[in-house]
């Protein structure tokens, strides 16, 4: 149980961070509550811990970071045992759901510029409770993005190199200069492109950048020539590249190697560049929108993109409705409803819930009409609430086992709720949303 040991070490380091005093925001209260766990409110915080663990577990690929968010030892051990089983699938699942982060060509040059972004960002953001969760999120993205980056590297993407030639070589010298400058992160933050700027990817790129500058210089040539090896893939002779590097950096505009048999007219070259930029963008979009890897052709791709945007907008609308409902329900007296109904379903199996949403459906029949108004998130929550209530009722009897079982199952359910939600969201079915009203 390496995770348990590392988790406990992580916890001890985090135990010193006190609660966020005077932070009015409930979100931060919950997270800081997760950090400081007074023994009197142990059970309550145990659940919160597992929940934060679970919710962070969705995002984090590293188990240790996951565990470090909770400070309750007993909850951790059980959650670790349960979570261990689920963290393995979660990283596997994660790339499908959340790992489709496109890599912008401009990102390459900017990644080179902010080589210590990850280090600085990690240091800056790691301190507060918020930052810890977000950091684990970011690392998850980083892990996925790294995979993507490598894939693109190996693809030998000449378009990326072209873009580099176009956008990057003004910045290549500046990137070397500003490489170690963490304040460059500030200039990056409000720039336009991809959310992929993470530590691992940065390191990959800073190592790849010298190779890129060599490659890009190879691409730069006079417009009139035609190449005998027809394509412009990377991997040209580096010796030739070395001599051209200085020249390419002096140029302001792009030299494009004309392909064999294609017109070398300036107009057609510009047009080709524009088309390649557009196809670059389409590729990024393809990475971002799930389920578009097999699709070729602009029309179908655009169709998928439109569907995805519409479904996302609908999701946001539904979720805002739900948020509004929850806020109003916070004031009303719902526990009467809950406890009555929940006592009718005493023996819920703790680990029976699989990833498939179909298994959640039977549990929708729990009669909690006022609480959740439907939706996939709601599908998970009734079960969650049931378990919480059970745990509370059980805990008042003094049994120590039930909260741990609850924590484990809670983390199970929460972790599962999100992946199942994710899997539902990702399949684009405009007629049938993932949410059942």
């Amino acid at each position: 149980m390496d995770m348990n040991e590392s988790s406990e070490k992580g916890m001890e380091s985090n135990a010193s961070s006190g609660p966020g005093n005077g932070i009015p925001v409930e979100w931060q209260n919950q997270f800081s509550g997760a950090f400081s766990c007074p023994p009197a409110a142990q059970q309550q915080h145990a659940m919160m811990d597992s929940f934060t663990t679970a919710s962070a577990g969705l995002w984090a690929s590293a188990a240790s970071q996951n565990m470090a968010l909770s400070s309750d030892v007993s909850a951790m051990s059980s959650a670790a045992q349960r979570g261990a089983g689920f963290l393995a699938p979660v990283p596997g699942f994660l790339p499908q759901g959340l790992g489709h982060f496109p890599v912008d060509s401009g990102f390459i040059e900017r990644a080179a510029r902010s080589t210590c972004f990850g280090g600085c960002g990690g240091g800056v953001m790691g301190t507060d409770a918020y930052g810890a969760a977000e950091q684990s999120m970011g690392d998850a993205f980083g892990g996925a993005a790294e995979g993507l980056m490598d894939h693109r590297r190996n693809g030998g993407n000449d378009k990326a190199d072209l873009e580099l030639a176009g956008n990057g070589h003004d910045e290549v010298p500046s990137s070397e200069a500003a490489g170690g400058d963490c304040s460059s992160k500030g200039s990056e933050s409000k720039k336009r492109r991809r959310p992929n700027e993470v530590m691992g990817a940065d390191q990959v790129h800073s190592s790849n950048l010298p190779a890129d500058s060599a490659n890009e210089s190879v691409h730069s040539k006079d417009k009139g020539e035609e190449s005998s090896p027809a394509t412009t893939t990377g991997g040209k002779s580096k010796g030739k590249g070395a001599t051209d590097t200085s020249e390419s950096q002096k140029e302001d505009y792009i030299h494009i190697r004309a392909r064999r048999g294609q017109a070398t007219n300036s107009h057609s070259l510009a047009e080709r560049l524009r088309r390649e930029k557009i196809s670059e963008r389409m590729k990024l979009l393809q990475d971002l929108v799930p389920g578009c890897s097999k699709v070729t052709g602009k029309a179908v791709m655009l169709d998928e993109i439109i569907n995805y945007v519409q479904s996302l907008q609908r999701q946001v609308e539904f979720l805002s409705m739900k948020l509004a409902t929850v806020n109003s329900r916070l004031d009303l007296n719902i526990e009467g409803l809950l406890s009555k109904d929940l006592l009718r379903f005493p023996g819920a199996p703790s680990s029976s819930i699989g990833f498939s949403p179909e298994m959640m459906h039977p549990q929708l029949h729990l009669s909690q009409p006022g609480l959740i108004q439907g939706g996939a998130a709601g599908m998970a929550n009734p079960d969650v609430f049931r378990r919480i209530i059970q745990a509370q009722l059980g805990a008042k009897d003094g049994s120590q086992q039930l909260p741990h079982a609850l924590n484990g199952s809670f983390s199970d359910v929460s972790q599962m709720a999100y992946p199942s939600l994710g899997s539902q969201d990702l399949s684009i079915r405009p007629s049938q949303d993932a949410f059942q009203m």
Binding site: P24, V25, E26, W27, Q28, Q44, M47, S55, R110, F117, M125, Y130, E134, Q135, M137, G138, E188, K190, K191, R192, R193, R194, P195, E197, I278, R281, L288, V289, G297, A299, L302, I305, I306, V309, L312, Q313, Q315, V316, E317, L319, S320, M321, L323, A324, V326, N327, S328, L330, D331, I334, E335, I372, N381, V384, F385, I389, S414, Y418, L421, D425
Partner: protein, 189 residues
């Protein structure tokens, strides 16, 4: 290129702040009001977290500012100066609308031309594909806020940006609701 973590964290903070400002816990609001308040606040949070670099952010906020009902809430969330800027952007959209009319008339003319050419020649595959693409781009322009006047490359970039931010918005809202649900239950018990 904006940092993912910072964007998410920014967005979360702003969302919570704006939700607080919206005063959702007051009992006087009806459900629809609440939902609108939540939507406005989350959109404003997302747009302000994104910053000025993206045209969709400004257009989104301007869209909300154009409705009179949201004025008080927007003033509270963004401050007076921010609201003035949004109102100015909302007024500025009228010029964009006139440009839209011009482009639409251009499109009609070109479609008439195309119809004539189609009548003359059988619709080639490329022509059909182009019409389809053009139609979908039109849809996309309607979906993405503030992307009306964009073409081609910039439209796609804008969509890309917008999709990423929508994703984080949905994820953040989901986390929010679940946390609040749990917290509510915990408080009662």
């Amino acid at each position: 290129m904006h940092a993912p973590r910072r964007f998410k964290r920014d967005f979360m903070e702003r969302l919570l702040l704006s939700l607080q400002v919206a005063g959702l816990t007051s009992k006087s609001m009806g459900l629809r009001e609440r939902r609108d308040a939540v939507r406005v606040s989350s959109d404003v949070a997302m747009a302000s977290a994104r910053g000025r670099g993206a045209p969709w952010a400004r257009a989104l906020v301007a869209r909300h500012a154009a409705k009179r009902r949201n004025e008080a809430l927007l003033r509270r969330i963004m401050g007076g100066g921010g609201y003035e800027r949004a109102a100015a952007a909302a007024a500025g959209r009228k010029e964009v609308r006139s440009r839209k009319i011009v482009t639409r008339s251009h499109r009609l003319c070109s479609s008439r031309r195309k119809r004539r050419s189609l009548a003359m020649a059988a619709a080639s595959g490329a022509m059909v594909a182009r019409t389809m693409v053009k139609g979908r781009l039109r849809l996309l322009r309607r979906l993405v806020p503030g992307a009306d006047a964009l073409h081609g490359f910039s439209l796609l970039s804008e969509t890309l940006d917008y999709v990423v931010c929508l994703k984080t918005q949905a994820a953040a809202a989901r986390l929010q609701t679940c946390m609040r649900c749990v917290r509510g239950v915990n408080e009662k018990l």
